[in-house]
Symmetry: C2
Subunit: 547 residues, 2 copies
Amino acid sequence: MSARWWGWGPEGSATAELPEAAHGLLRKRLGVGPRHTPPVALEEVKLPEIALGDNPLVRLREIVGEEHVRDDRLARVSHAVGKSYPDLVRIRSGDGSGAPDAVVYPEDRAQVAALLELCSSEGIAVVPFGGGTSVVGGVEALRGGLGSAITLDLSRMDALVDTDRTSLMATFQPGVTGPRAETRLASRGLTLGHFPQSFEFATIGGYVATRSAGQASTGYGRIDELVLGLRCATPAGELEVKPFPASAAGPSLRELVVGSEGVLGVITEATLAVRPLPRARRYEGWSFRSFGEGCEAFRAMEQEGASPDVARLSDESETALSMTLASSGSAAERAGKAYLRLRGHEQGCIAIVGFEGEEDAIERRRSQTRGVLRNAGGLALGERPGRSWLRNRYGGPYLRDALLDYGVMAETLETATSWTNLANLYSAVGGALRDSLSERGTPPLVMCHVSHLYPSGASLYYTFIAAQQEGAEIDQWRAAKTAATDAIVANGGTITHHHAVGHDHARWMRAEVGELGVELLRAAKERLDPRGIMNPGKLLPDPGLRS
Amino acid sequence: MSARWWGWGPEGSATAELPEAAHGLLRKRLGVGPRHTPPVALEEVKLPEIALGDNPLVRLREIVGEEHVRDDRLARVSHAVGKSYPDLVRIRSGDGSGAPDAVVYPEDRAQVAALLELCSSEGIAVVPFGGGTSVVGGVEALRGGLGSAITLDLSRMDALVDTDRTSLMATFQPGVTGPRAETRLASRGLTLGHFPQSFEFATIGGYVATRSAGQASTGYGRIDELVLGLRCATPAGELEVKPFPASAAGPSLRELVVGSEGVLGVITEATLAVRPLPRARRYEGWSFRSFGEGCEAFRAMEQEGASPDVARLSDESETALSMTLASSGSAAERAGKAYLRLRGHEQGCIAIVGFEGEEDAIERRRSQTRGVLRNAGGLALGERPGRSWLRNRYGGPYLRDALLDYGVMAETLETATSWTNLANLYSAVGGALRDSLSERGTPPLVMCHVSHLYPSGASLYYTFIAAQQEGAEIDQWRAAKTAATDAIVANGGTITHHHAVGHDHARWMRAEVGELGVELLRAAKERLDPRGIMNPGKLLPDPGLRS
């Protein structure tokens, strides 16, 4: 299943509706009235001329079979962009300039190797494509100075190759989507436990190539912690990393492929750590008087080894918005609010705390967690908020389509830093977003949550919405993005905790890893991809650009 | 404190004595009678002519100061080898061919950078040296085709630079030894929790450069899991990895420096995750009817999240040997043996299970662990075996010196694999050691333990002793080492779980990471160290050698 070309959700499904309460909120907070700004029709999307000669096309078809090379309009448009806000703004307006010349669907490792060999000798750019859910410009078919580009859509390579129940490992082809991985594993009593917001469409290969972190990564671990072994097809041959539980045999080449975003090669197989399928789940809500109090509680919980599998704390602004949107005005709701007021939590922050596993293990862990959170000022709100969060966990991108229809910018970005620096970074990035958008006359609503905990620090995830600047949507976005990322770099955050680099973050890579770090990555690329065909324009900054 | 030039233990201290029971055992099992084979005197060690010209010597002295460049006999001999069995055989016999031309002691990052610049322009090989405890030929001053070599002894760079109690991080200079790190941290209520057998002499920089795993790594994590940030001085400049808790900004350069064994540069600073100093410790013994039963118990414990901080299971052979050596013939001992016999454990395996932390947390964890181990057939033996293990945890290398004096070969090697493959690898490597040494007329005693647990697998650590083949000690060792490592490679193990690659394992690197993997490491090296001055002959296989 792939997402529709102009937004989220399966092709042909109905678009999400904004909740009733949203209309008033948008008007009141952003000054936005009902506007209807739908995407153009597929036929109106402007596509570049196909620049692949007949000879390469014939040879591509020889490798994968006639029907697995597509250059029709829908295929090209569907692979022209990922799912970032600027991607959707552009494609909805009919800008298909990021489309590849053709989309090629290999079936196995041998076909991928043959395709890379052909493209290397012909100088054709190759863009690996899993679920196409990149929000950082990771799948646009940039040419990087080459004459043509193909997208390698890995959706046919969707097998669960092997499972080892004894060692809790599973080997996947790269095109397996989140739901397919979980369904196939569940039939063997296993789970990967990786649930990014893009879960419905994203793939195993994409997870690994972008260092993805799922919503339950506090418990199950980030994807980089789950990868044991992998195979990566490169123009210089196959790189194989064996799935040892640990090794001291030199630098970790696994960690060089994980996060390589298609610029070194195509991940064709990944062996991941899996877990027994949880028999029970318990998700519950907590309230804290302030974001600062909640952060301290989460720090104590994490550092005492008392963290749940999902731990998520919304700041005051995100809490207020979600309460407004979920408001039904019922008597129960009024009673709940009165209770919070009574306890001094009426301007507070909601946290979600979720456990998965065996009943008794959950109870044992939960009792420890509750002790820490109570000591830190938390107020237990029961399972209702937890269930509600679970129900809506993949809902954000659907709502974004509805907001775009309405003329509203809706974007997210994220970072991570030490606990010591968390409050500083939190206010610096929020301030940068508010200032940069207010300066353009579109003051935003900025919300934030903490959702991934480590003993040394945590992530910060921002959502911001503002009235779109008609005719200058991309400039408006770039101003906010630049201000936020500059603030991240200046205030000790990583430029990305789990969205990856893609094209959008590449200009900050020098700030992140230094000039020599960039050169080191370039040296690896030159060895594996001497012609520079692999996903040009992503991850590595333009050699001419100084950030 | 550095170890004596010909063995383990502080310079000037008395050599360990073999336990009384060892004499009979060596005679009975290895056919070895008392022999006295002491090291030659320091004056008899043959050293290569100093090949550093006057001009470079003058410039080295300008950088670090007159008294911090040493080319006297003791300094050169003490830096000629590490502490592997073949290292000690060679140095004890007077072979000082691995000595550097001079030993240089920099004080800070600026001096290291200046030294690398000088050596790069003059074509002088540079060997970084922490505690000198390498057991894989990691610190020998090979020239790699260059005319001369200096050893960079980092013992003056021994500061705890900074601690962050809130984020549980500490930043060290590379020359801080294990005891110094723990003492300095303890005064701030913290611990690193990293206790390799080389703890007394090994350094933070060495831990990081070799992907070390301490005895408590099941609980505290391997060093590669503890490194957050670092600085590495290379001939091409400084590489800095910022200590973010997690990041998705491309491949992990941190993981390229961790385990780089000095061939890319010198680690000049490392920021590591630390923990609150444990207030309590509880170490206890368990018995299993067989190694197989114990392995299954450990697997269940690890996969249920019930592992202690130290988990160590000896096979039948190691158990029998340690019981013989510890035997006092007391009534209590006889009663203990009778109890084991009664429960069917008389040929069993001993495990050590250790917990550290707050009293209540230990009790909570311990109760879960005990449940799992009992269900899996384990028999609790109380705290006595645990205390005894703790007392002797750093004792192995001292005993080796006594065995060398006695004409006995004593060597260790290690690997790791999946739980599924553990029994297969265990017998393959043991068989290779027995066969290769028996063929030479010196049948060995081979012992093994599991000491690092992961959800997907575990490590295997072998100790073997045999009568030395007089006059062919190195050939004998090489035969055993080659047979064992070939068996590891053929049977799905990593060539090293925590001893690193050095010179001794380099020829198996192609088997470990593939030809393309080696080329990728070489590309990184060429970019950072274009003249090839950094620790030549280590980690990377000789380009001409196919394994």
